[in-house]
Amino acid sequence: MKLSKKEVEHIAKLAKIKLTEQEKEKFSKELSKILDYINILNELDTNDVKPKIQVTETFNEGREDKIIKFEEISALLKSAPKVENNFIKTHKIK
């Protein structure tokens, strides 16, 4: 299962990580090798098997729709690199 440079570039675009030419080469090799290994799963017939997404057997646990005051706004804003008038600031899209 060989991942081409073009495929690696496409994945990097989806993942929003800029790769160097060297990294593209390296990941193409490494990921191809890993994907080759993963192919052993095709030895198993799983046509009638339901996927196991998580092991807890519970789904969509709700809680009371009660308003609880949140006191840590300034603490959260402290972590943000750019803040203006109590808003988190970021770049223009383009």
Binding site: I34, I40, L44, V55, S79, P81
Partner: protein, 490 residues
């Protein structure tokens, strides 16, 4: 008095009776940390002033406070677990200066019981790894041989415990990250059942398998810590509505009662790939269990051989989703020279993430992308279902499973870093417990000819931590491996 030799119950008794001051214990730890840490690099952040101050406060408050085993006992926390107002980096440059505004639930529970945190321990970046070599802050060295890895991803936690930098560390285990370094560092590492302890405040890696848990020198210490950190948490909806247990009392009560405990030996794990010396130690361990009255049975889990393949689709897939939040906008590293939002994301993440994090994000993005989701992610979840089905059948015949922790003793730093797949295969015995959410403990069971430790893994049914803890305790009390300390300490 050799404070470092005492376990938690013994230490706690001396504190309660005022025969030993908490300040003395903390000072004793820092003497050792100052001497050895430059060689080991177990810590990312050391909290000396805060620890000393807290110790003083607690020493003057012993009668009036609510006393329990955790009170005043120093510990460490893996740096992927949020600690309020204390830098939490996940071993990554992207969070190099991140300071959480809240405590993880497990940390909150320990602080409520007056635990003392000595520092935040080193790890593979975002818990991606089995050697702690993927840390952005340098590798941690194995206390038994400084040229070797401590295992991973909770390598700093394991090294700290082995050297008695505190009496326990809270690590996280997704694909073996508590058990593996515990095995390679000669200590106990317990991965609780998925749903036993809250993941709230853990920097999420793989949401369907991440579990926080204790690393300790002895089984009873692990039992004590688990009792404190367990519990349903409405902030983590995957925690189970299940009664909390007093594991320490249980193992003391059942100390001599492992007669008729049915132990299954997973035959697929004792074939090629396992170091012959480790195999020998495990065979001796089985004989010890037989002498203690347990019933040994060989079992087969054929799907086990697919565990790594399943794990390395599911894990990167969930990672690619969980690490999407590191975008430089609300917290963490932010690229200063970007002209627009897209360039900002791309450069922030390119510069902030290390190679393994990038590798896993890429793999996961691919596995979840259009046209590949069924072939990879869905397929992996189906094989996961088969593995669990087969394991559940086996648990109808036996009470616990016995397996190796790792295929080899600690390898040399740099030995496996050029081949990612080679590193992934380190976790070959971990997958049953990880993918099925079963509790599993690694217990010291021997040494190599070069005095390197190895561990034995006991895996239990979901929510039956007390069974593997009792079996582990019985084994520990019949052996002396847990009494050895690395010679670098002396």
């Amino acid at each position: 008095m050799e404070i470092y030799k005492l376990n938690i119950p013994e230490l706690s008794k001396l504190i309660k009776n005022k025969e030993l001051k908490i300040s003395e214990i903390v000072e004793d730890c820092f003497k050792r940390i100052e001497k050895l840490e430059p060689k080991i690099n177990a810590f990312i952040t050391i909290l000396k002033e805060q620890a000393i101050e807290k110790a003083k406060k607690l020493d003057s408050n012993i009668e009036t406070s609510k006393f329990n085993f955790i009170f005043g006992i120093p510990c460490t926390i893996k740096d992927i677990i949020s600690t309020k107002n204390i830098k939490t980096t996940a071993g990554s440059k992207i969070l190099e200066n991140y300071i959480p505004p809240f405590n993880a639930e497990v940390v909150e529970k320990l602080l409520n019981a007056n635990a003392i945190i000595l520092g935040k321990t080193n790890l593979d970046e975002f818990a991606h790894g089995s050697s702690t070599e993927n840390s952005a802050f340098g590798p941690t060295r194995n206390p038994w041989d400084l040229e070797r890895v401590p295992g991973g991803s909770s390598g700093g936690s394991a090294a700290a415990c082995a050297l008695r930098f505190g009496w326990y560390s809270i690590g996280t285990d997704t694909g073996g990250s508590i058990r593996h370094p515990a095995g390679l560092c000669g200590i106990v590492g317990l991965k609780p059942t998925y749903g036993r302890c809250s993941r709230f405040g853990l920097l999420a890696m793989t949401s369907s398998t991440d579990v926080p848990g204790p690393l300790t020198k002895t089984v009873e210490d692990a039992a004590i810590v688990l009792s404190q950190i367990q519990g349903k948490d409405i902030k983590d909806s995957t925690t189970a509505k299940i009664k909390s247990k007093d594991y320490y009392t249980f193992i003391l009560k059942h100390q001599n009662k492992i007669k008729n405990l049915k132990i299954g030996i997973i035959k697929e794990f004792f074939q090629e790939g396992l170091d012959s010396k480790i195999k020998e130690h495990l065979e001796n361990a089985i004989k010890i269990f037989e002498k203690l009255g347990a019933k040994i049975k060989e079992v087969s889990i054929k799907t086990a051989k697919y565990g790594i393949a399943v794990y390395y689709i599911i894990t990167p897939s969930e990672i690619s989703s969980n690490l999407a939040r590191y975008d430089g906008i609300k917290f963490g590293y932010a690229e200063k020279n970007a002209s627009d939002l897209s360039e900002f994301y791309n450069l922030t993440r390119a510069k902030g993430f290390g190679a393994e994090a990038k590798r896993r994000i890429m793999l996961g993005t691919y596995a979840l992308s259009k046209g590949y989701y069924d072939a990879y992610y869905k397929k992996a979840q189906k094989v996961r279902a088969l593995l669990i089905q087969e394991t559940e059948k086996v648990f109808q015949e036996v009470d616990i499973l016995l397996a190796p922790t790792s295929p080899s003793f600690a390898f040399k730093i740099g030995e496996k870093t050029t081949d990612p797949l080679k590193m992934y295969l380190e976790d070959i015995y971990m997958m049953i417990a990880s993918l099925g959410g079963y509790p599993a403990i690694s217990i010291p069971c021997g040494f190599s000819n070069e005095n390197l430790p190895c561990g034995m893994q006991l895996i239990g049914r979901r929510f039956e931590e007390e069974i593997i803890l009792s079996a582990g305790f019985a084994f520990q009390e019949a052996t002396n491996f847990h009494k050895k300390f690395p010679s670098i300490m002396f």
